[in-house]
């Protein structure tokens, strides 16, 4: 989004289909916003009946910068986001150094403005160095632009520290994102505890490693009145806890990720490190519970937990390979193929969980397809079939369990602040805008 956000030239998107109503819609963009009508010299995007929705938001992304630029950079990660139809991501702070100071929050935001292909909302560490001991300066972090706090990947094991964090949080007014995992229960586990782990001789991680921490933090929310967002819930027991929390009226929200509704631990197969992530892929009963929770409305928003790693790291033996898979460039297709087409959700509701819902949970600026709102948009073809080829990812990470999968649903074009941030090579409708943009700003 190189600098010139507010000066984005006029564009007219013609012949699209409204994501919610299904009605035919034309939309004019100018100066970074949706406008009433396009000037005569506006360049035209011929949508050809594709679905137009607010840009997708991924509230759980590891951009790896600063520090781990061999895995991903802010530039490559946000480029992948744009390719996935995303116009905003929330960046996790488990970088090197950890984003636990105002200076690093500002650095991430600045780097994203300079090199990014979508909006980047930094998430700051909850405790200093994500060590789970001393609180990070939450108020200063919030003022610097952090939208949430999280020790993601390194759960706060001390209930006392979490209690104080939830109390102090009210001064910072942003949710605490909890990666729920009892590290003593995880032990040296590398995949879900169950038959596949037993067969492969791998130490298992029980689902209870997640759910006991969900229960703990629900009790602490009750005690403190704090506000928690549960990251990547993966198992039936966690959703059972969440259901009870809703009945108690606790101010908590939750996300889940496409791999948890698509795969089970059987995907580990013969030690496939591309099926190794944390929380791990669970049992078929857990997968069914994730789907039920989505249908029932227990899941407040979706996220990918995009976690790129290098080829070398994922080439290690299973128990030495890092946890994590990439997700930005397959999220929409997995949503259409495995939620919408099997009839679990309507396309409109599924898109809501990728757009309005995460914006609401994290208090991000609202985007509606109406004049005055930011021109952050995704043009989507929910019918298009394609084959996942990691070599064509824009992310530096190729670590996906979906390589070779035939999926339905393709982002055709993405606009962020009125500028084209991605156009699928097979989509001719945005060519005029793409060429004009390239001529104006060849980078």
């Amino acid at each position: 989004m190189s600098g010139a956000v507010e000066k984005s030239p006029p564009v007219l998107i013609r012949n699209a289909r409204h994501w919610r109503t299904g009605e035919r819609i034309d939309l004019a963009l100018y100066g970074g916003r949706i406008v009433e009508r396009a000037p005569a010299h506006a360049r035209v995007v011929e949508a050809g009946g594709a679905v137009l929705s607010p840009g997708l938001v991924d509230v759980h992304v590891h951009l790896r910068e600063p520090g781990h630029t061999a895995k991903e950079t802010i530039a490559s990660g946000t480029r992948a986001a744009a390719a996935g139809g995303f116009t905003a991501v929330c960046a996790m702070p488990n970088t090197e150094p950890v984003v636990d100071s105002a200076a690093w929050v500002e650095w991430v935001a600045a780097r994203a403005r300079e090199a990014g292909h979508c909006r980047v909302y930094p998430i700051a560490a909850l405790t200093q160095g994500q060590r789970g001991e001393q609180l990070a300066p939450l108020v200063a972090l919030r003022r610097a632009g952090a939208v949430a706090f999280s020790d993601d990947g390194r759960p706060v094991m001390s209930a006392a520290v979490m209690r104080r964090a939830l109390e102090y949080q009210r001064h910072a007014d942003a949710p605490i994102i909890c990666h729920e995992e009892d590290l003593t229960l995880r032990g040296d586990g590398h995949m879900n505890e169950g038959f596949t782990a037993t067969r492969l001789g791998l130490a298992g991680i029980p689902a209870a490693a997640e759910s006991v921490m969900v229960w703990r933090d629900l009790e602490l929310v009750e005690l403190t009145g704090g506000r928690v967002h549960f990251a990547h819930l993966s198992c039936a027991a966690s959703f059972e806890a969440l259901r009870r929390a809703r009945e108690r009226g606790l101010p908590v929200t939750a996300e889940t990720c496409p791999h948890y509704w698509t795969l089970t631990d059987e995907a580990v197969g013969d030690y496939d490190t591309h099926a190794k992530m944390n929380p791990p892929l669970r049992s078929e009963a857990d997968r069914a519970a994730v789907l039920a929770a989505i249908r029932e409305g227990l899941v407040d928003c979706f996220a990918t937990d995009h976690a790129p790693h290098t080829h070398e790291e994922k080439q290690r033996p299973f128990d030495q390979a890092p946890f994590g898979i990439v997700g930005l460039e397959t999220a929409f297709a997995l949503t259409v193929s495995h939620l919408v087409r099997p009839g679990h959700l309507s396309l409109a509701r599924a898109l809501e969980l990728w757009t309005e819902a995460p914006r609401r949970v994290f208090g991000l600026p609202e985007v509606r397809l109406e004049p005055g709102f930011p021109a952050d948009l995704a043009l989507l073809d929910p019918e298009r079939e394609w084959t996942v080829d990691p070599a064509r990812f824009h992310s530096q990470g190729r670590n996906t369990p979906f390589a070779g999968w035939r999926l339905t649903g393709l982002p055709l074009a993405t606009f962020c602040a009125g500028r084209l941030t991605h156009a699928d090579p097979g989509f001719a409708g945005a060519r005029e805008v793409a060429e004009a943009q390239l001529a104006e700003n060849p980078r």
Binding site: R199, G269, D270, Y271, R316, P317, D319
Partner: protein
């Protein structure tokens, strides 16, 4: 899931000649009954050849075997080396240690070294489950798994089954083996279970709940509530080694408690059928998982296991190197 299956053909390599049919042995999961019996027949022949001083022969003349032991194991290494020498193979053994992360790096780096040395058969022992199939995917050699983490130890499983076959006069039908001990961390148990499943032998497990892996019944075994229940009427018992680390990681209260509740003692062994035998993969903790009177008693076949181990490794190496098995040679 492009899993190199049990005894799958290894990829042929250009100019491989007689090694075009090299095969991996990664585990006993899914092994066919016929294949398993063929290996046992071959091994019985090698046992006899060794006993009558007709080895070494030159069956693996011109074959280079690399023994890559990333985890220390004197007895398995020596057994493989002896088998290789008895068949006239050229062999090279390398052992490395270090932290788990540095092992991972070593493993990757070692791939290129092995490839350059033109090793035909690679015998590998590694602390990571899946290391053998990992190597099979990346190395241009037939891979023999000599133990990968908690996963499998197929030549141990085969030698256990060979020992049972001798003790049971060749009849597997209707037999039952009781496995007692740390199944969760045992590659020996997994290989024995898969191999015995292929032969229709029942397996009963007895172990502290902390040392039984999740859903273990789905491997095709039953779990007995006590060691006495497991042994009553069994045709054989296998005691698994208890590692001292299990106390430190809180899985067991003490070695004393383990010996009292789960130890294979004379009184418990007496619950088995009169002709039933006792196995142990070694090295033994005498007085912990097995009482000395049992280890040295008339039912013990523990030292037959060691002898059979060399014979089994002869049979496996010959197959993996692409030389015909005994049955094929006869026909």
């Amino acid at each position: 899931m492009n899993r190199p299956a049990v005894l799958d053909p290894a990829p042929a390599r250009e100019g491989a000649g007689v090694f075009a049919a090299r095969r991996h042995l990664l585990g006993l999961e899914g092994i066919a009954r016929e294949e398993l019996l063929d290996i046992l027949d071959d091994a019985a022949r090698y046992r006899e050849l060794a006993r009558t001083h007709q080895l070494p022969n030159q069956e693996l003349k011109g074959v280079t075997v690399g023994n890559a032991f990333f985890e220390d194991s004197t007895r398995t290494r020596v057994s493989f080396e002896l088998a290789e020498q008895r068949l006239g193979a050229m062999l090279v053994t390398f052992t490395t240690g270090g932290s788990s992360v540095s092992k991972g790096e070593t493993l990757l780096d070692t791939l290129r070294v092995i490839a350059s040395m033109r090793v035909d058969v690679l015998v590998v022992r590694h602390a990571s489950s899946g290391a053998a199939s990992y190597l099979a995917r990346h190395v241009d050699a037939a891979v023999v798994n000599a133990g990968d983490g908690r996963h499998e130890h197929p030549t141990q499983g085969l030698l256990d089954i060979m020992t049972l076959r001798m003790a049971w006069d060749g009849r597997f039908e209707g037999r039952r083996l009781a496995i007692v001990g740390d199944v969760a961390h045992s590659r020996v148990a997994r290989s024995a279970i898969h191999g015995l499943n292929a032969l229709g032998v029942s397996v009963t497990l007895a172990a502290p709940a902390t040392l039984l892996p999740a859903d273990v019944e789905a491997l095709g075994v039953t779990v007995a509530p006590t060691v006495e229940d497991a042994l009553a009427g069994a045709d054989a018992a296998m005691a698994l080694r208890i590692q001292k680390e299990r106390m430190e990681s809180g899985l067991l209260p003490s070695l004393g408690e383990y010996a009292r509740v789960w130890g294979v003692t004379e009184a418990r062994v007496a619950l088995m059928k009169p002709e039933a035998v006792v196995l142990h993969p070694g090295p033994m903790n005498r007085g912990v998982e097995i009482q000395p009177e049992v280890a040295d008693g008339p039912r013990s076949v523990i030292f037959d296991q060691v002898e059979n181990g060399v014979a089994i490794r002869c049979a496996v190496l010959r197959r993996c190197a692409g030389r015909a098995g005994a049955r094929e040679a006869r026909s």
